[in-house]
Amino acid sequence: QAGTGTVSGRVTDAKNEGLPGVTVLVEGTSVGGSTNADGTYTISGIPTGGHTLVISFVGYATSRVPVTVRAGQTTNVAAQTLAENATALGEAVVIGYGTQRRQDLTGSVEQIDSKQFVKGQVTSPEQLVQGKVAGVQITTGGGAPGANSQILIRGGSSLSASNQPLIIIDGVPVDNTGLSGASNVLTLINPNDIESITVLKDASSTAIYGVRASNGVILVTTKRGTQGDTFHATASTQQSLSTPVKYVDVLNASEFKALVNAKGSASQKASLGNASTDWQREIYRTAYTADNNVSISGAAGILPYRISTGYLYQEGILKRNDLKRYTGAITLNPVLLNGSLRVNLNLKGSWIDNNFSDQGAVGAAVSYDPTQPITSSDPKYAPFGGYYQFLDPSGNGNLNSLATLNPVALINQRRDRSTVRRSIGNLQLDYKIPFVPGLSANLNVGYDIQRGRGTLNAAPNAAAYFNQRGVNNYYAQDLNNTLLEAYGRYEHTFGANTKLEFLAGYSFQKFQNRNYIVNNYSADGTVFQQPVAPAYNGSYTTLNTNVLEGYYTRLNLNFSDKYLVTGTFRADGTSRFNPNHFGYFPSGAIAWRIKGEDFLKDNTAISDLKLRFGYGKTGQQDLGDSNYYPYLANLGLSTLTAQYQLGNTFYQTLRPNQYNPNITWETTTTYNAGLDYGFFGGRLYGSIDVYKRDTKNLLAFVTIPALSGLSNAGNFNIGSLTNKGVEAVVNMDVVKGDRLNITVNANATYNHNEITYLPDVYKVGGISGGVGNTIQVNKAGYAAQSFYLQQQVYDQNGKPLEGVYVDRNGNGTTADDFYVYKSPRPSYILGGGANINYGGLNLAFTLRANLGNYIYNNQRSGAFYDAGSNGFVSNKNREVLNSGFTSAQYYSDYFMENGSFLRMQNATLGYNFGQLIKKGTNLSLSFAVQNVFVITKYTGLDPEIVNFGTPNTQGIDNTIYPRPRTFTVGLNLGI
């Protein structure tokens, strides 16, 4: 053939053995082939001229080799050794606006690939790396399907503003606005589509994201097809059963009866029933989950593709609670124009049907009188569907408006469903500018669209909606977000050893949040009380918009692979602040790759050694879903239920709202020093980082002087806090053999959070019991949300004396003797696991531990015996038998407990049958247990507690949807 030539060569692994089945492709064309059994390949029909061979194989780092093809000749390519991904220093790590070789990193960046993900039943992306990344604390809100997660990187840098990291999926920064009908918007992403998750922790890696980077950045990369790859199809199924692990320790019917008869008033004794109902067992069940996924990938001509679809059906252990998720994803990533245009098209869609049940039953089951029956044939309960309910003490047949409602009725008499849909997509074009070697332009346009729709139904006989004669409501919310980003990148090598990369770009993102104003209906579809009024503008929707606009630049310098310098700068504007839109966020880092020095170059014991120092500033502007315009003086229209009558006319009122015209950025300055190490040919490797993060001008919701504003508190830039910590990561190939391989990984984090300045003491941490009782404070000198309690006095037998507290300041009264006692934050977070392979057999487990976190056991503090009666008595935590308190002692530190724990998150045993059906196929089977065990001294249900709000509350154990133990069988077939 005229004008074409041939190349040949060999691909080997680290042991210099030939690798069969490796894809070798001429970049930008469909010409390619794969290696044969000894690792050699020959590709003919290549147009003459300069080309790049792309050599890729699953589990190994892709290699790019320049070749020059001459007409009619065979060009021999030097043997290429592919390095395994996990330890490869040459591995590409995803960073902000690009990728970098691991050895070139100057910041604190940790990338977890799919091989290292948490296995077993994982239904939301963040669970893939729970316990896997140093400095990252991921806490699920509980065991409900689709439950929200708190992700806290290096302790969180904010007080009232969001502490959620910026999450970027395939280049699209996603919205973390809450969506009606979805507890956790991340569950809309199928974890099976994810290839890697990268966490950027220090400012030198995050500052290029400027305004949203203060709490770290998480980059999610999804799976895609490979150039020239053959057709692959995989199908997997996981079938799981979940069971409650334990129940809140409350009295059983006979114990409860004995207690009431011993201590109760006559009316309390009279209110007891004769049944014996274990309400918690009545509302929970063994739940079934199926997670099925199919994907195909390959390359159709020049077009690499991956198409996947998934179906998840997850039952909660709370009865009538389930979730159905349908997901689909398409990625197309061709390289066009003779290798100069790289295209990345990602489209993801998901649809979730939630069936929430009534989660109020979780708390109701704990406190409901166990001597009462679930149902009763007594006609007085007929109006409530035959469910037993406490009735008004007057005997009028109405419900007792103060009483807890029958937990089983709560579940059975309400239907609470939502449908949420999300699509994220982007088109990214990377074009090598002709005639200017090393210069490329990158354009990224994307969207993130979410729709939340829900309905709430209950019949007129449902006690929870009895006064409204049932309910027949719906709600809706739309989130429309768009993204436009463009950057230019220039790469140049000076002389032999000095490499430069310069990048400059522009980013525009618009978030639109539309809420609908809807009526409140009775079950029969009639409007209850009165129809709602439109908003001030006459519309029945309200639209909030947040626009972010940024200009960024980065310079990377690499001197002889020994000295690395990174500088970034971003100017970011936000619509939340006006007219002070823009904040400026610089960062700089240097690294000394000691391994590159002559004295270590040939050292075989030390395979990597690098010192990193970074400094930078990042910002935060996310004041939460209800604070889009904190600077704006405006007036809000009241609803029709908050009108005011003057004369015979009712007026919808207009209220001037609190605002702060001077509100601006919260700024975090991060100092980071790190050491990357590797020994024994990379068999032992990891890193150690030390950091300090100072946040100034905290966006704090604080008390303001009376008469100085239009409320008693508002958003101001006040206060400062600091997080100091150390992170260590160790990975080790303990055994590396032909058949037996054992790898162990562990990470440890120490973090100290301290508010360094606040003008006042802010009470936070509302508890259950009374109205408005709080037990935590934000106070200078202490960790955010530290507990604020009274010091209990005990008798000589160690029994707490009711209402007796230490007079700490010696002024004769203990009413003012509150003190800061412990923090809900762990001092140490540990994670680790092992992966043991023997032939086709695989055993993997993940362990997590938090140390030094304290919990206020609100279940116990509510267990006092009050002889007051409103016609019913509530069941008590077993604590009531210990303390014998007869009145609320909510502020006693007696109820504080150490919440340190060690949890085995997952254990998986798998067997890979290999090429069972035919060549190139693969079949594997796995058994997994999720939440295998928890070792803790904590007496409550679960020592991991987070309650979502603005901000989230930690360490107050009120009621938690129990995290179940889950047993999973998985089958995976690859063709």
Binding site: G636, T653, G770, G772
Partner: protein
């Protein structure tokens, strides 16, 4: 694209538009009144006016009522919420969140009024191009805002003995200076007299619930009657001057005492007695504070909620024997219409345990039923939720002014005679079927005020004026002991909440609270 960084919501209003339109200005004015009734812009709860405490809990009327009543011989509340028990036992400190909520609501109202008066200044009205008719209408609103502001400043004076001070002339963002009680008294007095002299306020009774001339006069009467407490100088003669104006303004006593507290008190003959109500509506003015609280909280035990027009009781408020024994025959007597509103079945007279609802008789004064026995608009029989009453709160009413007039005379004020004092008291008594008094002395007034005005939010002020709040007179749980004991004299004032003193260092603490 940079102009995209300028975002503003179209579902809320900006000041330039609102204050150019008299109809919208009236909506802002309505909001100044609503502060006493609701807790935020979304009834019954949501978009709160103040934060840091449960919305319904911290409602203006609920808090004001609570600090005036449960601290006294008239009422007790059994709930364990935060530092609420410390109000019952007169043991509050500067961190008490209910004292703080009261303070925050009072000054919130003043801040809203300042903003309104600032925005509706003559300069702003002409700048925004309002015609002369429109401007004149708005000027009346502005005068009403001044009265409402004076009302809240009076609350600040009465409860806190002074406090931060700002007017429309102080820009938002300015940390206010402290104004001590005597100066605050002078300010309120001069402000109300200036408004009265301008003569722009509506005529008495012209429009129900507006702050008209009679409201201004009643407030002046109250200010002067208590002047000795506030300034050390007796102003009884001035009290009589303004009481006389109210007495001559055409108000008439409701033919039936109980009607004053029923769901149709804005429509029945009761409205002819009410000088200034806080209005509520079961459908249109919903809150978990205000009248919702006053109607629900005393209901429990054997009370039939449906008879009160509600879905159920909250089992919290009761009264003490110190109130019921002021009536001949006590709580079970029926000679006096005012004592028939006590409920005793299943309850005992004495309060031995603070949290026990059966301890103490109940007061079923406020009901969500009308004078003809019909249930309120949100009652279950009318297809409602049974939560929210229509009943308006009579903050100022004629009987109170009659008793103030008599008291001012008995305190030595000039402008009337002892005979007219006795007449005023006996007119009030006669309405309820109580036997006429042969003679009236100053101390009789305190008891008569309890009989006539119990649970209407006057008691603490009255006891202080009569020197009986801290020492020499005890009631259950006063000072924290079941029998009651004397409390420190400084407790006639509440502390300036530490929450505000921390952020405003201009504020001194009241004596005894440091």
């Amino acid at each position: 694209c940079t102009k995209d960084l300028n975002q503003a919501p179209d579902y809320s209003a900006n000041a330039e538009v609102v204050y150019s339109d008299p109809a919208q200005i009236q909506q802002v004015l309505a909001r100044l009144y609503a502060t006493f009734a609701v807790s935020g812009q979304q009834g019954p709860a949501g978009q709160p006016d103040i934060t840091g405490i449960d919305e319904g809990f911290s409602n203006y009327l609920r808090q004001y009522w609570q600090v005036q009543e449960v601290t006294t011989d008239e009422a007790i509340i059994g709930w364990n919420d935060g530092t609420l028990p410390k109000l019952n036992t007169d043991q509050w400190d500067a961190n008490n969140e209910f004292v703080r909520a009261t303070y925050d609501r009072v000054f919130y109202e003043i801040a809203l009024c300042n903003e309104f008066i600032r925005q509706t200044s003559d300069a702003n009205l002409s700048k925004r191009g309002l015609g002369s008719d429109a401007a004149n209408t708005v000027r009346v609103y502005r005068e009403e805002a001044r009265v409402l502001r004076a009302l809240s400043y009076w609350h600040a004076l009465d409860l806190f003995g002074g406090g931060p001070f700002a007017t429309e002339n102080d820009a938002i963002g300015t940390t206010p200076q402290y104004k001590k009680g005597t100066d605050l008294f002078t300010y309120i007095e001069s402000e109300l007299k200036a408004v009265d002299a301008a003569g722009l306020l509506l005529a008495p009774r012209a429009v129900y619930a507006r702050a008209d001339k009679a409201v201004c006069w009643t407030l002046l009467t109250k200010l002067y009657l208590n002047a000795k407490v506030y300034t050390g100088t007796d102003r009884s003669t001035d009290a009589i001057t303004y009481a006389n104006k109210v007495l001559g303004a055409g108000y008439t006593l409701s033919p039936n005492y109980s009607w004053l507290f029923l769901a149709d008190n804005d429509k029945s003959a009761a409205k002819n007695e009410i000088i200034f109500p806080i209005t509520f509506d079961g459908i249109r003015t919903q809150t978990y504070g205000g009248m919702t609280y006053l109607v629900h909280a005393p209901v429990g035990g054997a009370v039939q909620p449906a008879a009160i027009g509600i879905n159920g009781g909250w089992g919290g408020l009761r009264t003490k024997p110190t109130l019921t024994t002021l009536f001949p025959g006590g709580a079970t007597g029926n000679a006096d219409a005012r004592q028939t509103l006590f409920f005793t079945k299943g309850q005992k007279s004495s309060v031995d345990t603070l949290t026990l609802f059966s301890n103490g008789y109940l007061v079923l004064k406020y009901k969500n039923v009308t004078s003809t026995g019909a249930a309120g608009s949100d009652a279950q029989v009318n297809g409602g939720s049974g939560n929210f009453p229509d009943t308006d709160f009579p903050m100022f009413r004629l009987a109170d002014v009659k008793l103030m007039y008599a008291e001012a005379l008995l305190r030595g004020g000039s402008g009337g005679t002892a005979g007219t004092a006795l007449d005023q008291v006996n007119e009030v008594r006669a309405r309820s079927g109580a036997a006429p008094l042969a003679a009236v002395a100053l101390n009789d007034i305190l008891d008569e005020r309890a009989r006539e005005l119990y649970w209407e939010g006057h008691r603490r002020t009255d006891l202080i004026r009569f020197g009986k709040f801290t020492t020499g007179y005890n009631w259950a749980f006063k000072g924290g002991v079941p029998a009651g004991k004397d409390i420190e004299s400084f407790r006639t004032l509440f502390p300036i909440p530490n929450s505000d003193r921390t952020v405003n260092t201009n504020l001194p603490q009241n004596p005894g609270y440091n």
